[in-house]
Structures are given as structure tokens and as C-alpha cells.
């Protein structure tokens, strides 16, 4: 294994360890406890205490942290207070929604952004370029939840093409599930692809100004062949960096979109669990999200090296 990979892996592990501590500590200072919430204001104090004991809320913090860490390695993430079922199961369930949603949104983002960005760059300063850029300006300026509600009003309430909210689950078949993820993915992708399209465009334009593009053209390659063969791969370097960051924002964005579309995803689970002080769940979910972000950025770094042979040499 190369030094590059090892180095990146070590920082990856350190980042994750730091994340776990921060997450745990922040959640420790939350006021209020799960037992009280589960039992509500009218419950008798004895019942609340009984529940707290059953949930293990009376244990000392260090013990719980170490226990949790150990659990992270063994896969035993504890039991949700609010659902009284294993957190790992719960998260796994939610991931079957959030991961496809994020991937779908990212795929949409990438396809739209690359197509639009490359198109705009290839028609630099012509009508097509200006059109795409105007659209992308608009896309950036729209709050995604607002756009999501608009989509629901148009496609679900008026046209009745899609169901407005909810997720049938993959058991009902791949198509219905995908269908219910489409609008959420679109509303997530709009802003991100607008941003990415701009990045792509300027990256392509930058590369087009490079000498080697002129070299390629001097060899007799057509504009199109130059674009695909020489420009795109070089332009991917800044684009991929941004994509890595966007994935993080996308994951966070799922919290909002899952709320609007009432999707049982990881984002909403976190949101609700914090309100319920279901800290076991929050802790693990936040950790998972953070880990996904960190890992995606790690992958971006590795991709970098794969795309650009110089990077590996330079960051060794």
C-alpha cells in the first residue's frame, strides 16, 4: 500500500475518533431526559424513574462512552429508547431510504451539472451559455424546501403523478420506491446541480485555456474529441472536490427534504430523536453521517490521485 493511502487512512481514523468524542460530549449536556419525555407530564414520578433505570440513564458518562465505543466495533449500538428496538436495526432500516435518496440526488446532480456545465462552457458567451447560467443562478437562489413544496403541489396534488408523501418501502417493489424518491431527489438536486454546473463550466473553461488543449487541436482532433478526450478529465479535479463537499450538504439537506416529503430517513430520525432525547439513536446517527462525510472526502482524495497522476506524487 502506498504511503499516500496509509497517511490518509490514519487521518481518517483520527477524524472519526474525534467526531465520536465531540458527538458524545455535545449530547451529554443536553437538558432533559428520554424517560420524562416518553412518559409525558402526567406520568407519576415513580414510573419515570423506573423507566430511566431501565434505559440505563443513571449510569456514569465515561462508562457509557466507552461502552458505546466498544459497541461501535462490535456492531452492538444499543437500544433506542423511543422505539425499544436495536439502534443498528433502526439505522439499517433508515439507510435503505437515505442512501438511495442521497445517491439518486447526487447522480441527478452530477448528470445535470456536468451536462449543463460542459454545454455552457462549449458555447462560451453564446446564448446557450447565458441561458444555462441564468437557470443556474435561479437554481442557487431557491430554498430547497420551498421548491420541494412546490413540486408536491404541482406533481402530487394537482397532477397526481406521484404520491405526495411517504415511502412504500422496497418490499413493494423497486419502481414504486424509486418513484417516491424521485421528487425528493429532484428538490435536493436542483440547488446542488446549479452550483456544480457553475463549477463545471468554469473548470472546463479553465482547462480549455490550457496549452495542451491547443496541442491536442494541433494534432487534428476535433473540438468534440478534444473536449471528451482531454478537457473533461482535467476539469474533473475541481469538480470532484466540490462534489465531495456537496455530498455532505446533501446528506444534511435530507433532514429538510425528508421532513417535507415525510420520508422515514436517517435525517428525520436524527431530528426526532433529538427532540425525544433518544440519545442512543442520535449519537449513532450523527456518527454515521459524519463518518459518511469523512469517508466520502477520503474517497475524493483517492479519486484525485486516480485522476491526476501528479497528485499522488505531490502528496506522498
Amino acid at each position: 500500500m502506498s504511503v499516500f493511502l496509509v497517511k490518509r487512512l490514519i487521518t481518517l481514523a483520527a477524524t472519526l475518533a474525534g467526531t465520536s468524542l465531540v458527538v458524545f460530549l455535545v449530547l451529554e449536556i443536553l437538558p432533559g431526559n428520554a424517560a420524562q419525555i416518553l412518559m409525558g407530564p402526567d406520568a407519576s414520578p415513580e414510573a419515570v424513574q423506573a423507566l430511566a433505570a431501565r434505559l440505563g440513564l443513571d449510569q456514569p458518562a465515561t462508562g457509557r462512552y466507552l461502552h458505546w465505543l466498544a459497541g461501535l466495533f462490535t456492531g452492538d449500538l444499543g437500544t433506542s429508547y423511543a422505539y425499544s428496538s436495536p439502534v443498528s436495526e433502526l439505522i439499517a432500516e433508515r439507510l435503505t431510504l437515505t442512501v438511495p435518496l442521497a445517491v439518486l440526488a447526487m447522480a441527478l446532480t452530477t448528470v445535470i451539472a456536468l451536462a449543463a456545465g460542459v454545454y455552457a462552457a462549449s458555447r462560451h458567451n453564446k446564448a446557450g451559455d447565458l441561458g444555462v447560467m441564468a437557470l443556474s443562478q435561479a437554481g442557487i437562489a431557491i430554498p430547497n424546501f420551498w421548491f420541494a413544496i412546490l413540486l408536491i403541489l404541482v406533481f402530487s396534488v394537482h397532477l397526481r403523478w406521484f404520491s405526495a408523501v411517504g415511502f412504500p418501502g422496497w418490499e413493494e417493489g423497486v419502481w414504486p420506491a424509486l418513484q417516491s424518491l424521485l421528487l425528493p431527489a429532484v428538490s435536493l438536486a436542483v440547488v446542488q446541480s446549479a452550483i456544480l454546473a457553475r463549477i463545471t463550466r468554469s473548470a472546463v473553461l479553465d482547462v480549455l485555456r490550457e496549452d495542451f488543449v491547443r496541442t491536442a487541436r494541433a494534432k487534428g482532433l476535433s473540438r468534440r474529441a478534444t473536449l471528451w478526450g482531454h478537457v473533461l478529465r482535467n476539469a474533473m479535479i475541481p469538480v470532484i472536490t466540490v462534489m465531495g463537499l456537496q455530498f455532505a450538504e446533501l446528506l444534511a439537506g435530507t433532514i429538510v427534504v425528508e421532513t417535507v416529503f415525510n420520508l422515514p430517513g436517517l435525517g428525520r430520525l436524527i431530528f426526532q430523536s433529538i427532540a425525544n432525547r433518544d440519545l442512543v439513536v442520535v449519537r449513532n446517527c450523527v456518527m454515521l453521517l459524519a463518518a459518511m462525510v469523512v469517508i466520502v472526502n477520503f474517497v475524493v482524495d483517492v479519486l484525485y490521485a486516480a485522476i491526476d497522476p501528479r497528485v499522488k506524487a505531490a502528496t506522498l
Binding site: 443536553l30 432533559g32 406520568a43 405526495a164 408523501v165 415525510n262 422515514p264
Partner: protein
């Protein structure tokens, strides 16, 4: 087109921490499971009357301490075990026992259950409560099967007409008709799905898009868009809930009754009902709702009168009053807060709104009593007793009321009780413990063709056995 024997109901919150009403306090558990999966000895109907369910009949001793229930015969649990007096005893002992997380544990702890024979039980209560049969119709009093009871949260076993088919966490609970039910043929629905949609906009969208057939207790804000839509029916029913601007009676200057009265007088209840509930509410003057036994109209005791409010404040020597209203996350509280703050500012009270989560409300307001005022709906049907609790978060203490309440508890004759209850209402209103706002009305929005929906909701329940498609 969906089949005519299935129904999709929506609710804002998912049952938590599971499907066992004795394991948690959330009303959503009862809404999904009561009378559908689990049954109780008695059944509360939409007019508030109490009728037999698992008990065929009962008798009460004259001193209201001994109830004898005769149980229905030939009833089985979903797992095939028979329903009998032992199950009843097990259920009630469990509810009141050590380590019970039953919300009404204290009540059950004061009950002694005796098995007379397989189909007869006697309940002895230490505290006199004329509403005891009503209590036994609530979700905390469900009859569970001893062997399966520990796993009820995830695999509920009851005697009801429906059993759990699937719980997709975060999404829905699906119930199917249980063919072993004593009257399976009389249940029109074959399958009922409860979907959980917390976001008000999503709720409305789901209804409009036809994803959901019935939505009980819709956020009032969304109601107007269904009003004139021929696809939907609207059922507006009375509740037993009381929405109040609760005040910390020990905090200065709220410990001065004149200040409290000034606050109450500054508030136009009609406007609050408009702003917080789109007009779906009935003004109340005390901690008691119209329609309940012994209700008296006390709205005239502290009427809306800004001039008087200003005068009262002057009299109390309070100027430039700064108060904080702590608001839990429910829409009625947040919206009502905005209206009330604006109205208070007109009489010179600067009310700062502080929004908190439930967790913070429970620990800060309810637990530590660290607040000036808060807006909250008390949904328990009969809870005047809270005014007699010295350690309740209101910090209200009145020997006069304590005495009155003691008498109410000991009084058996309905007429006497009613009179005493009226007195208690007036006392609370005169002491102006809180600014009493309104009795919310629950609005159910449903597909026009759904039949058998409850209009009034004395308790939170969906009586699935009565529902059908036209």
C-alpha cells in the same frame, strides 16, 4: 383505486416507545391500538358514555369502593390464550406493580383485584372515583395476556378485532382484521394503515393527493383548504382539553392576583382562538370544559378589557413589566404565543417568547418550574385535582381549594358533586390561577365516503371496528 375494505389513517406522531399503552404515555399508542388491538373491560363512546366491552356488566357498591365485573365468555387473545379473570388480575396488578411504567400506575396501585371465578372479578379501590368505569375504558387499563405481555411493545397481543401486521418504523403501522375475533364478520375493514406525518404541510398534501383517507386532529391551520372541497368531510368535535396560559403563581409579580387578572383581561380569547386554532375552539373561563359534569360558564369572571388591565397593573404598582412566555413546539402554543404577546404589548407588558422543545419544556417548566408563563393544553379529562397538588408546576396553593377538592372527592351524589365542581371552577377563575383560553375542538378531515367516524373525542382513540366505506 384502493380496495373498499382498506383504509389509510394519518396521525402526526408515531407511537413511542412501542405499541404497548402501558409502557408509555403517548396518546398515539392508544390511537393506534385501543379497541382495535387491545380491549378494555369497558368502552368509552364518543358521547362520553361508558358501555360494556370485555365486561358484560358490572355492579358498584353504594360506597363506590367495590366493583364487580362479569366478564364476556369465549373471548381469546390473538395468540390463542383464553381471556379470563386471571388475565384481568394480571393486567391490573402489573399496571400498579413495582417497576411499572404505566402512566396511571398510582391509580392502579390503589386497586386490589380479586378473582371470584373465571369470569368474575372484584375490584376494590381505596380512592373514591365516580368515574372509575371511565378510567377502565382508557388505554392504560387494557387487558393483556400474561405470557406475551413483556413483548407487547413490538408484538402486541390483545383481544381486539385487529392484529398487527407490520410496523415500518417511522412510516406506518398496518393492522389487519383478526379472523379469530368473536364478531369478525361484523368488522367492515380488512386492513387499516396508520401513517405518521408530523409536518403540517405534508399532512395537507397527503390528504389532498389522496394518499390518506382519514386524519383526526388535523392542525387547524390546514383546515380551511378542505372546507370547500367536495372530496372531503369535516368533523368538528368537542374535546376535554383545556388550553391555558399557565402562570407561575409564585413568581413575582405573578404572585399578585391583580397582575394575573390584568394579564387575563388583556387577552381577547376570540382572537387567540382565531390565531392559534383558526377559530376551532370554545372560550373557557376556568379549568373545565363545557359538556362536562357540573360545568359553569365562568368566562365573565375575567373578561377581555384592556382598560381594566391597565388599571389593574397600575393598582398593583407594576410598570414596564417584562415577562417570558415559554412555548412548547406545538403549533397552538407557538401561534397563540404570537397573538398573546401582541395583545399583552398593548397594555404595556413586554412578553418575550421563548420557544423550547418538549424535552426542555418538561425539564425546565414542568420539572424545575423555571418559567413565567407558558401556553399548554391539558388533555386529561378530569384534572381539577392538579390545583390541589402543592408541588405541581403551577405553584398554586390555596387551602380553600384543597378543602373544596377534598369534599368533591368524597361526594358521591352527582348533583352535589356538580355543585361543588361549579364552586371549584369559580374559585380557580376568581383566583385567576391562569389565563384560561379555550377548549380546543378536534377537527377530523376525511374522505367524504368514510363512514363511522367519531365527531367528539372524549379520549384519543380510533374506533376502527365502526369504520367503513360508503
Amino acid at each position: 383505486q384502493r380496495r373498499k375494505d382498506t383504509l389509510v389513517l394519518a396521525m402526526a406522531l408515531e407511537p413511542s416507545p412501542g405499541l404497548d399503552p402501558t409502557g408509555g404515555a403517548a396518546s398515539s399508542i392508544a390511537e393506534v391500538t385501543l379497541y382495535s388491538v387491545y380491549e378494555t373491560l369497558t368502552k368509552i363512546h364518543q358521547d362520553g358514555s361508558v358501555k360494556p366491552l370485555l365486561a358484560e356488566s358490572w355492579e358498584v357498591s353504594p360506597d363506590l369502593t367495590t366493583y364487580t365485573f362479569r366478564l364476556r365468555k369465549g373471548v381469546k387473545f390473538h395468540n390463542g390464550e383464553p381471556f379470563n379473570a386471571h388475565a384481568v388480575k394480571f393486567s391490573f396488578d402489573r399496571a400498579g406493580g413495582e417497576g411499572s411504567t404505566n402512566k396511571d400506575r398510582r391509580t392502579f396501585a390503589s386497586i386490589t383485584t380479586r378473582v371470584i371465578d373465571d369470569h368474575t372479578v372484584v375490584l376494590l379501590t381505596k380512592e373514591i372515583d365516580p368515574d372509575f368505569p371511565f378510567l377502565l375504558g382508557q388505554a392504560t387499563a387494557i387487558i393483556v395476556e400474561p405470557k406475551s405481555a413483556p413483548t407487547n411493545a413490538t408484538q402486541p397481543v390483545g383481544t381486539g378485532p385487529f392484529r398487527l401486521e407490520n410496523w415500518a418504523r417511522g412510516v406506518s403501522v398496518t393492522l389487519v382484521r383478526w379472523d379469530g375475533y368473536r364478531n369478525a364478520a361484523g368488522i367492515p375493514l380488512r386492513r387499516a394503515t396508520f401513517r405518521f406525518i408530523p409536518d403540517p404541510a405534508a399532512q395537507a398534501a397527503a390528504l389532498l393527493a389522496g394518499d390518506v383517507d382519514v386524519f383526526a386532529r388535523v392542525t387547524p391551520r390546514s383546515v380551511p383548504q378542505f372546507k370547500d372541497n367536495p372530496r372531503f368531510q369535516l368533523l368538528v368535535g368537542a374535546s376535554r382539553a383545556k388550553t391555558i396560559l399557565a402562570m407561575n403563581n409564585k413568581r413575582k409579580p405573578l404572585d399578585d392576583v391583580r397582575v394575573r387578572r390584568a394579564i387575563a383581561a388583556a387577552i381577547d380569547r376570540k382572537a387567540v382562538i382565531q390565531g392559534a386554532a383558526e377559530g376551532y375552539g370554545v372560550p373557557i373561563g376556568s379549568h373545565y370544559v363545557p359538556g362536562a359534569l357540573g360545568y359553569v360558564d365562568t368566562t365573565g369572571i375575567n373578561p377581555y378589557d384592556p382598560a381594566k388591565a391597565t388599571a389593574l397593573l397600575k393598582e398593583a404598582g407594576v410598570t414596564g413589566l417584562d415577562l417570558t412566555i415559554t412555548l412548547p413546539p406545538t403549533p397552538y402554543a407557538r401561534q397563540g404565543g404570537e397573538v398573546i404577546a401582541a395583545m399583552l404589548s398593548r397594555v404595556g407588558i413586554r412578553a418575550k417568547l421563548q420557544n423550547v422543545e418538549w424535552a426542555q419544556w418538561l425539564s425546565g417548566v414542568y420539572g424545575n418550574r423555571n418559567y413565567d408563563m407558558t401556553i399548554i393544553s391539558h388533555v386529561e379529562p378530569f384534572d381539577l385535582g392538579n390545583f390541589a397538588k402543592p408541588d405541581y408546576y403551577w405553584n398554586y396553593q390555596s387551602p380553600k381549594f384543597d378543602d373544596l377538592y377534598d369534599r368533591i372527592r368524597k361526594t358521591q351524589k352527582p348533583a352535589d358533586r356538580a355543585r361543588l365542581l361549579g364552586e371549584a371552577q369559580r374559585l380557580v377563575a376568581q383566583d385567576c390561577v391562569h389565563a384560561f383560553l379555550y377548549q380546543p375542538q378536534w377537527v377530523t378531515v376525511a374522505n367524504r365516503n368514510v363512514k363511522g367516524l367519531w365527531k367528539d373525542m372524549p379520549i384519543f382513540v380510533n374506533d376502527l371496528s365502526a369504520l367503513s366505506w360508503a
